[in-house]
């Protein structure tokens, strides 16, 4: 990975961290905000390498948990699983942008589903179906869009080199 890529990713890593923990939670848009660190992890996995995506997902998720969550480890675990799943799919397929967007959205939705399920398991009680339809699905779509935006940004940095 070149220095330019490292710097770009470093900057976006910090930006994503603060977007997730300080900026987006302040927007009262019915709680519909994208999971930016997941989007970054997925886009880096898709554009550069799984290793980079894993590092970003693990570090970013861990930092976000340390800053905001009482349960440390869940977010990085989910980011890692999503990145690994994406890598597995992309190893054998080269989906077109629309399918790629749907893939990102599906992965983000799975992450949301896992988050909700684990929260339920540890005792949180909420209307699961409604949370999935009115909360998790729109958030997953936003995360998918955000991932596509990251990919568009990283295209200029990548210069055709993919070490997948």
């Amino acid at each position: 990975m070149t220095a330019r890529k490292r710097i770009t990713l470093g900057i976006w890593f910090v930006v994503s961290l603060f977007l997730d923990t300080a900026v987006l939670p302040r927007w009262n848009a019915f709680g519909l905000v994208p999971f930016v660190m997941l989007a970054l992890s997925l886009s880096v996995t898709a554009m550069f390498s799984l290793q980079s995506g894993l590092v970003i997902g693990a570090l970013g998720g861990l930092m976000e948990d340390l800053l905001c969550e009482s349960m440390v480890g869940l977010t990085p675990a989910l980011c890692l699983l999503a990145a690994a799943a994406l890598h597995r799919v992309l190893m054998e397929n080269q989906p077109k942008p629309l399918l790629l967007f749907l893939l990102f959205t599906a992965l983000a939705f799975l992450v949301e589903l896992l988050l909700a399920s684990l929260s339920w398991l540890i005792g949180m009680r909420f209307a699961f179906g409604a949370a999935m339809v009115y909360g998790a699905l729109p958030r997953a779509i936003l995360t998918g869009l955000w991932t596509m935006a990251f990919m568009w940004l990283f295209k200029r940095v990548r210069k055709g080199q993919v070490d997948r």
Partner: protein, 276 residues
Amino acid sequence: MKNLWKNRPILIALVASLLFLLLAALTVGRRTAGRGEDLFSSALLPIQSGVGELTDEVTDFFTRVFFPSQVQAENERLKKTVAAYERRLILYEAMEQENARLTELLDYTSANDRFYFLAAPVTAKNLNPYVDTLTIGAGSRNGVKEQMAVVNGQGIVGRVIEVGATYSKVRTMQNEDMRISVMVERTRDEGMLGGLVLSGDTVVGLKLYYLPKDADIQVGDTIVTSGLGGIFPKGLDVGKVFELAAEDNGVYDACVKSEVDFAHLEEVLVILESEG
């Protein structure tokens, strides 16, 4: 390890995920942060706060631009809130001033504990310098009688000239007909105080008469009641000499300025009786 990282990244991802999940399970329901976590969060907290505040500023700006009606509604709400606070502030300031005045009266009564005082509010005023009287909210039901002395924290206000059941009228020191027997506190020279020294229409002081010819009076001397005449008890502050009259004046000897702010009297004390 490096080869494993390169060849089996998915395996590593899965193992790392399991470890993270294990960590998450261990940290469920804990009450206190670990030392490292505490240090990390504390270090990033100022930046987070700064970014958060910046976000609020940007959000506010766009809200003002794109949702002016929302801003207008908020503006109306804030105006009402400000008006409510202003009303409270006025009330608070009035209470604060009243508290200061009453404290001053209380200090005066403590310093003159040989008298029995009755505190009374000033309910009406007539500030014509030739018929200067004021009405206080205490009368015969409260033990007020004619000719009783009326004072406040700054000195003598006047004497009671008319008593009703619940009110009394007081002739103030600024009444042209008022006369008090006084003395210079420092030299004990006795004289008579009364009549106004005017500057245009404004009362600037009271005339001091009948001092002995060899009286050593100076500007700044304190004038107190002498006790002669039986209306005002001895030793009450009346005012200070602020000007000596010319020798060939032949009418009065000095000008005395009372400390009492007659234009802003709100509470007074009536001296009901004195010990001994």
